[in-house]
Symmetry: C2
Subunit: 261 residues, 2 copies
């Protein structure tokens, strides 16, 4: 297992690499994982989301426990929407309540798959090999918008707002997701605690099937869907998502006037 | 009115600029419209989609005539989905039938708004000023997938396949969309012919309202939705979309074995 992070350096450069013992061993990029030779103390660096996806593919109904609770059959192909690149923030950055929206905002703790190489109509083997590693995602939703219009469910709008894709703190390669649990807390109180092994489509199977629909590019992220325990976030509340071995993703919901733009 | 295009040069460079009398007057980029001084004959250049959007926001139910035909009320806010960057092709490039899909593929002729500057929570004036110009979009859909799963309409999947966002041939700035009609033909037979003035949300109003949801970036495209006359494309058939003053976008649906990858 290796841990990969992305940072802003004090001179405004974005650096990416492998983190070990408080040091960043810089690499060219996620799709060109070649060391540059530079080694930087992480204390002088500001963490960013661990990659900059061109697109985020977010799954719906991908856990047996949630499907059972919602009384929905498990799907035959991954059901997904797209979240835009501009929705991504890293751990510690604020989730901003949209100026135009006063309704319920909901967290969803999810495993994120980070794509390492271009992937289209992949075989099972190619799909598995195209996974660079795993991260954590809080797939935030403006829940009242989802079915505001009875003729058109607004998945992309409700989940696409700026700051509504929290991601991080790191990407871990070689991670054994089958043995892991995801835990979500809201202001320190546990709200989700589910085994990743309950997934309907495994990560490699998601990549294989989604690559039949959309070419996946290096840095793209698939948010694997959530399980039971989803709930709303009050303004000022903090959501943390933890998978042992990957780390903890922590973000606080703020109203616009609290945030310097 | 100025006409803007993007090309591949014979040495593999991408060039963008203003086209006049068979010559490309090169500009730095769409968001930095500063002339480089280079002037190139367009005869030596291969046309590309006129911009490379990070995301495509595609509207549903934005024409009064189509809303009336579908017996749906017009919406209070633009209803949209996202098409990924990888779905974009230019005029003359083939629409590829997905290997995994044998069903109905549908054309939708649409006006495309090209964003020229970053735009978030825009005023009406800022929204109007952030429009760089207008292009044509064929918003292609794998129609049988849309409601394949009764619990989750698959808008992003059905409209997100590679090559399913045909765009071009040019971007025209200063274009008076209010006076224009959009005409779609299928193998030379007219199938759509509708006035753009029938739009529910005008382009500037679309930009203003969508910028409350998602930050729009330079080069992003909003596909304004289609009107009546949508229909299916048989393998081998050619769809052309024309707006006088912008040009004609032409694409042929091909099956995978016909296309060199």
């Amino acid at each position: 297992m290796d841990t990969w992070m992305r940072f802003m350096s004090s001179d405004g450069e974005v650096v990416f690499g492998r983190v070990e013992g408080g040091y960043l061993h810089e690499y060219e990029s996620l799709d060109q994982p070649v060391p540059t030779g530079a080694v930087l103390s992480t204390r002088a660096l500001t963490p960013l989301a661990p990659c900059a996806p061109g697109k985020i593919v977010a799954l719906w109904n991908n856990f047996h426990a949630l499907a059972a609770k919602l009384d929905k059959p498990v799907p035959a192909h991954p059901l997904f929407l797209l979240k835009p690149a501009g929705s991504v923030i890293g751990s510690g950055e604020p989730i901003r309540r949209p100026l135009s929206y006063a309704g319920k905002i909901v967290y969803e703790g999810e495993l994120g798959i980070v794509i390492g190489r271009r992937c289209r109509d992949a075989s099972a083997e190619e799909a598995a090999e195209s996974i660079f590693g795993y991260t954590l995602v809080n797939d935030v939703t403006a829940a009242d918008l989802l079915n505001e219009n009875p003729h058109f469910p607004q998945w992309c709008r409700a989940k696409g707002f700026d700051t509504f894709c929290c991601m991080g703190p790191a990407i871990v390669s070689g991670f054994n997701w089958r043995a892991a649990r995801l835990v979500t807390t809201l202001d320190g109180v546990e709200r989700q605690n589910y085994p990743l092994a309950d997934m309907v489509f495994s990560p490699a199977e998601q990549v294989r099937l989604i690559s039949q629909d959309i070419t996946l590019e290096p840095g793209d992220v698939i948010a694997c869907g959530t399980s039971i325990g989803v709930g709303s976030i009050k303004d000022g509340a903090t959501v943390t998502i933890t998978i042992d071995g990957i780390g903890t993703l922590s973000n606080t919901l703020t109203v616009a006037c609290e945030v310097a733009i």
